[in-house]
């Protein structure tokens, strides 16, 4: 699904990622680890098509509408409610039975009661839960998750554990995390960036 040859990315004079060869097969779960600044987020943004490589080649075998990308920021409007944000993304992604799917995700991630509140009133953990709803809304084939446990409390992390367990083997997942032990049992491949 993903093939990278000598992949690299430079920002100005700083080379964040360089000479990376990578092959991720369909339905693989790749765990990406490494210290801050090692290029984990850059790799995910490259795979999502948000950044262009400055070196090497990258082939991603899915259309952009089949990518679910969880970034550091939730990528939602703070002035809109959780429901309004998901409704906007649901329309743009042409999600079938949009309302039912949104309702199900909000329920599953414990945001149903807060669905009409503006995102600006959400805690960091609630924003991360909403970001996960947004990422999963269109049932993407390729999930790029950058620090998915960030900001989640134990209940939220347990929910995410269950979600990832359900998705592994069915979707292709690339997980960049500082908590590799939490998802190690799901991983079929590992990439340690230095």
């Amino acid at each position: 699904m993903i093939l990278a040859r000598r992949l690299g990315r430079t920002f100005g004079a700083k080379r964040v990622l360089g000479g990376l060869d990578l092959h991720v097969a369909e339905r693989e779960v790749l765990l990406v680890t490494g210290p801050n600044g090692s290029g984990k987020s850059t790799l995910l943004a490259l795979c999502a098509g948000l950044l262009a490589p400055t070196e090497g080649e990258l082939e991603v075998g899915v259309e952009r509408g089949q990518i679910g990308y969880l970034a550091h920021e939730p990528l939602v409007y703070r002035e809109l409610s959780g429901l309004e944000n998901l409704d906007l993304y649901g329309r743009l992604y042409r999600v079938p039975e949009r309302r039912e799917r949104i309702g199900m995700l909000l329920e599953r991630f414990g945001l149903w009661e807060a669905r009409r509140q503006p995102v600006s009133s959400f805690s960091r953990g609630m924003q991360q839960r909403l970001a996960l709803c947004r990422t999963l809304l269109h049932e993407p084939d390729l999930l790029l998750l950058d620090e998915p446990y960030a900001g989640l409390d134990e209940a939220g992390a347990d929910l995410l554990d269950a979600e990832l367990a359900g998705l592994s083997g069915e979707r292709t997942l690339i997980l960049a995390t500082h908590e590799p032990d939490r998802v190690a049992h799901l991983a079929t491949g590992r990439l340690a960036l230095a």
Partner: protein, 213 residues
């Protein structure tokens, strides 16, 4: 086509809703355009004539547009939402079109206050002026939305937007002033319509390259 229009509608509705909630842009535009006309009222020497008055109105409209455009991508920039929109499978020009509709709406609302104020301080508002302002709004929003997206990615966005925008909208000022004062306004209105058409197509076609690397 229906899907494209639905995307544009959803994005424009979102922008209007954001403004309704935050009230960041429109009140500033209203205050600015009225204040500018008041200042011009005192700055313009008595007996200067209608030509200068119409010229100043167009200056006020262009600078009010800049004020609105500076905030056009603020929510997307501050919360990096543009990444989320760019990843959606819809045509990326729909983002431009949706934002452009919202910019036109803000300009029209600002002018609903500005034109009566202009009539109060300076000259009567004619149908030629109203038609020219309407056509100018389309051109200002077309070019301005594209440039606002470009500027949003830059650190010097407040500086970059006027520097790029003002030279490109000189034809709007020429057409607008001409339509306001000429004996044959139709020629200038046609010029404004042609400008709108050309720049709307150029902006629509190039927006994708502006929001992707």
């Amino acid at each position: 086509m229906t899907g494209y229009l639905a995307d544009v509608g959803a994005l424009a509705r979102k922008d209007l809703l954001l403004e309704l909630r935050s009230r960041d842009t429109l009140p500033a535009m209203l205050l600015f355009v009225v204040s500018t006309l008041v200042v011009f009222n005192f700055a313009l020497p008595a007996g200067t004539g209608e030509t200068a008055a119409y010229g100043l109105l167009w200056v006020a409209i262009v600078f009010t547009a800049i004020l609105g455009l500076t905030r056009a991508f603020a929510a997307e920039r501050e919360q990096r939402v543009l990444d989320g929109l760019v990843l959606a499978p819809c045509d990326r020009s729909a983002i431009w079109a949706g934002k452009g509709i919202a910019v036109v709406a803000f300009l029209v609302l600002a002018e609903l206050v500005a034109l009566p104020a202009f009539a109060l301080f300076f000259e009567p508002v004619t149908w030629e002026l109203v038609a020219a302002v309407g056509l100018a709004d389309l051109g200002l929003a077309s070019v301005g939305t594209l440039l606002a997206a470009m500027a949003a990615a830059s650190r010097a966005r407040e500086l970059l937007l006027p520097l790029l925008f003002l030279p490109l909208v000189i034809p709007v000022v020429v057409g607008g002033v001409g339509a306001s004062i000429a004996d044959d306004p139709g020629r200038y209105l046609g010029f404004l319509a042609l400008y709108d058409l050309i720049f709307a197509i150029l902006s629509w076609a190039s927006f994708e390259y502006v929001v992707t690397e």
